[in-house]
Symmetry: C2
C-alpha cells in the first residue's frame, strides 16, 4: 500500500512565469523597506557594471513561495492533505541579475519525502527569458497534522 | 595594516523593526502571486491550529534584505566600498508563525569576512514583539570590484 503522503508528493511539481515590473519592484521597496540604490536609483546603477536597475533577490523568493503554493494545491488535488507550512530554504543563491521587464519562470520540484517527519524537500529554480538561471534553492515543507509545530 | 574590507565589515550590524500590516501582506500576495489561503482566507485559518492568518515567510526575507541594505550603508560610511550584491542565504528557517499586526525586529550581524573572495557571512535573526524568534538565516554578501561576477 502506498503511503498517502508519498502518493500526494512523489514527483509533484509546479511552474509559473512572472513578469518583473517596475511597479512591482517599487511596491516591494515600500513593503520590505529595502530601498537599496540597486533597485531605486537608475543613475547609481548606470555607473555600475550592471548598467541598470535590478530586482531584489527577495522578490524572487516571493516567486518561489508562489510555486510552492501551486505545489500544495497539486498535492491537495491528489488527496486529503493537512495544511502545510514552509519551514525554510537551504542553499539559496541569486546567480544572475534580474532586470525590470524580465520574464522569469519559477519551477518547484519535490525531490524527497521524509514520512516520519512529514517533510518534503524540493528544488526550486528560477530561469529568465534567455534561459539563464537567476536563482536556485532547496525548499523544506512541513505537512502538518493538527498541531502547529513549526519549530525546527 | 588593517585590510580595508575587514575595517569596513568587522563587527558590522544593523537592526530595524517592521509592523506586519494586513495591507502589506495583501500587496505581497499581489506582487509575488502567492495567494495561499494561510495568508488570504480567515475562515480557512480559523479551522487550523494557527487560528488566524499568517504572513508569508518570503515577506520576512524582504525584511532580512532591508537590514542587509542598512549594513551596506554602514559599511559605506566606514570606507570606500564597491557596490555589493546579495549572493544568497543558507539555513533559512521560519521558526514560528507571524500574525497580522505583529511587530518584528530583524537584525543583521556580519560574522566573518573572506577577503580573497570578497565575501561576508552574516547571521540574520527576526524576533517578534514577545521575544520569539520567527526566522533565522545566514546571508552571503559579495563586495564587488568593477566586474559584476555574481556567479557562484
Amino acid at each position: 500500500m502506498v503511503d498517502p503522503l508519498d502518493a500526494a508528493l512523489t514527483g509533484l511539481s509546479a511552474s509559473r512565469a512572472f513578469t518583473v515590473s517596475s511597479d512591482d519592484v517599487g511596491d516591494f521597496v515600500r513593503i520590505s523597506g529595502d530601498d537599496y540604490e540597486a533597485h531605486t536609483d537608475p543613475d547609481f546603477m548606470a555607473r555600475s557594471s550592471f548598467g541598470r536597475l535590478i530586482a531584489h533577490g527577495a522578490l524572487l523568493v516571493g516567486y518561489m513561495s508562489a510555486v510552492g503554493t501551486m505545489a500544495i494545491r497539486g498535492a491537495q488535488a491528489r488527496g486529503n492533505i493537512d495544511i502545510p507550512v514552509s519551514l525554510g530554504y537551504d542553499r539559496m543563491r541569486f546567480t544572475a541579475p534580474v532586470f525590470f521587464g524580465d520574464i522569469v519562470t519559477a519551477t518547484y520540484s519535490v525531490k524527497s519525502v521524509d514520512k516520519a517527519k512529514r517533510r518534503s524537500l524540493a528544488d526550486v529554480v528560477v530561469v529568465n527569458q534567455n534561459g539563464v538561471t537567476v536563482a536556485v534553492a532547496e525548499h523544506l515543507m512541513k505537512w502538518l497534522h493538527t498541531d502547529a509545530d513549526v519549530t525546527v
